[in-house]
């Protein structure tokens, strides 16, 4: 790919302490050896089951959690070097997270105007009041909250979920955010308005060259909105590549399982049942854990899978898989 990445994540590791004794400390490894790039105007989807480390990855990138190991480069600079307040502020402005719950993200007693205006004032993006108004109204228009003057006067509690999510997205637009980390931005919304939000984010890719990390359970919306998909399982990225390749030609046994489980009305009656696995429990990964994270549930497990971590193998130009069935 000739594009220059805006964000490069290299071998990211994140541990959380679990039990603490007097002499012993135990950890769980929520994210292990995760690497990916984000590009301007493109979206990377992260899919995978609950607890696989999707949100943790985004939280580490947005400086909410410190990392345990690995590198995170923003425009070529390691974010660990951002130690002074000014560079942290600048980074926070350019890299913003939006969340699943648009209800929690906005203070109900403030108006829509306040929610968009506040970050503009904090980051000193506007000089005076009339400039502030213009900016707020133009943002509201871009995110489809029209008529803008009327919407601006409303309080967050007077908005529907979809409208609130538009306000959250509007905040990122107002700030000139370059990387949006969207953590399940549509899963709490009504089915009929989810597409409106995805299409709005799609327009941001095109119009503002925004880079997206799109975290979701819903692999069909990931295929719809993203250029690339990374599949996570128990803290590991097990497959990554072009969205179309990953969804139409999945190579990792977990991706295959995931895709075969997605409801599809067009497969009525013809569905092949899921491969039976004896042990369904999902393991907790620890720094000392060994083998492939999927070995306990995989239908192809060999003794090697239980002993060693399979390497990330390149299958095609932009299609990688972490499984011994494919080299290693």
């Amino acid at each position: 790919m000739s594009l220059q990445p805006i964000m490069e994540v290299r071998h990211l590791v994140k541990d959380f302490p679990t039990k603490q004794g007097i002499f012993t400390k135990q950890y769980m490894r929520a994210v292990n050896d995760v690497s990916f790039n984000l590009y301007p105007g493109r979206a990377l989807g992260i899919v995978g089951e609950s607890g696989s480390g999707k949100s943790t990855s985004a939280r580490v990138i947005s400086l909410q959690y410190p990392r345990t190991a690995g590198e995170i480069l923003f425009q070529g600079n390691d974010i660990a070097t951002f130690t002074d307040k000014a560079s942290v502020m600048a980074y926070r402005r350019k890299v913003q997270m939006i969340f699943q719950d648009p209800y929690g993200a906005l203070n109900p007693v403030h108006t829509v105007f306040h929610h968009i205006a506040r970050p503009l004032q904090i980051h000193k993006i506007v000089q005076n009041k009339s400039e502030l108004e213009d900016k707020v109204y133009s943002v509201l228009e871009k995110v489809g909250l029209i008529p803008v003057e009327q919407t601006a006067k409303k309080y967050a509690y007077q908005l529907s979920g979809g409208q609130r999510q538009r306000v959250c997205i509007g905040k990122t637009l107002a700030l000139g955010t370059e990387v949006v980390l969207a953590d399940e931005p549509t899963s709490a919304l009504d089915v009929s308005i989810r597409l409106g939000i995805l299409n709005l984010m799609e327009a941001m890719k095109e119009d503002f060259n925004t880079a997206f990390l799109y975290i979701t359970h819903d692999i069909a919306t990931a295929r719809y909105f993203t250029e690339e998909i990374a599949v996570m399982y128990v803290g590991h990225m097990v497959e990554t590549g072009d969205s179309r390749d990953v969804t139409s030609n999945p190579q990792h046994p977990y991706t295959q399982l995931l895709l075969s489980a997605v409801p599809d009305p067009h497969k009525r009656g013809s569905r092949i049942s899921l491969p039976e696995v004896e042990k369904k429990e999902i393991p907790t990964w620890r720094p000392e854990s060994r083998g492939c994270p999927f070995a306990s549930r995989c239908p192809h497990t060999t003794p090697q899978c239980r002993e060693q971590m399979p390497p990330l193998t390149k299958l095609a130009d932009n299609h990688f898989v972490r499984c011994f069935l494919h080299g290693g």
């Binding site: 609950s50 529907s160 308005i193 069909a220 719809y224 399982l257 489980a261 067009h266 009525r268």
Partner: protein, 331 residues
Amino acid sequence: MNQGSSTGTILEIRNLCVDYLTEKKPVRAVDRVNLTVKRGETLGLAGESGCGKSTLAFSILRLHKPPALIPEGEVIFNGEDILCMDEERLRRIRWNDISVVFQSAMNCLNPVVSIRDQMCDVILAHRNISKADAVAQAANLLERVGISPDRMNDYPHQFSGGMRQRVVIAIALALDPQMIIMDEPTTALDVVVEREIMAKLEELKHQFGFTILLITHDLSLLGEISDRIAIMYGGRIVELATSEQVILDPKHPYTNGLINSFPLLSGEKKVLSGISGFPVNLWDPPPGCYFAPRCEACMDICKRENPPLIEIEPGRQVACHLFPTPEGGAE
């Protein structure tokens, strides 16, 4: 024990209305619903958040609580109107004949009572058998839903979400009901777990022949597993047809919009629109068709008159002015 013929109608909802008596004014959450459930079928009920799916499910067994109230309607189960039954008769029907799996029921298991005891409690409350027999039956039920009976003495927190949901389903099956109403049984779960539970349910249905009313907002799931689908909008049924018809040839513009809200995993990527505007506000509904403000096919009549649910071809019902009552035909 399943009684009666294996075909025909098991449940008929006639003109059912449910209001919530809020401080400002009553809100009609279920509005003149007519719905017939056929014995042995899986009937899906879909619609987005707040359209009245759970309210409808509750009211079928009169499990609704104040401020909900049923001002009119009938719910005929095997020839008897549930809404007029005395409490004793109703108590016998609940669990024995019709059981309900409530939305997020898996989070409602009692955390300090073992799985074994929670299951036995239900069985012993309705069956005159010994504790030992109830335990044996509970073990058998767990096995049916794919949980090893060795885990019977565990407590809910020792189970994953998917396992807890299976326990809830096992409890619903405990008294061998003729019909199960399931409200979003897998919504909080990962797709792989959802698939496992749905496959299990289908297998059990083949074995025991119960009828399922399956409520969810996930039209893709319903399209795959149910026989017929009813679509609800603003408390009203707007379309009822076979799953194939609903998925491949929807008639109501809302159904069409819903289908356009689910990207598919295969085929060409195409731009989908979802539905513009926002769901109906039941506190202040429009006078005519509730979908009119969002509908691209909206005509003048739609803004004035609520279209009745009519049969446009045998077995197929739609409530939309684009499909007028056939000339001379009854409504």
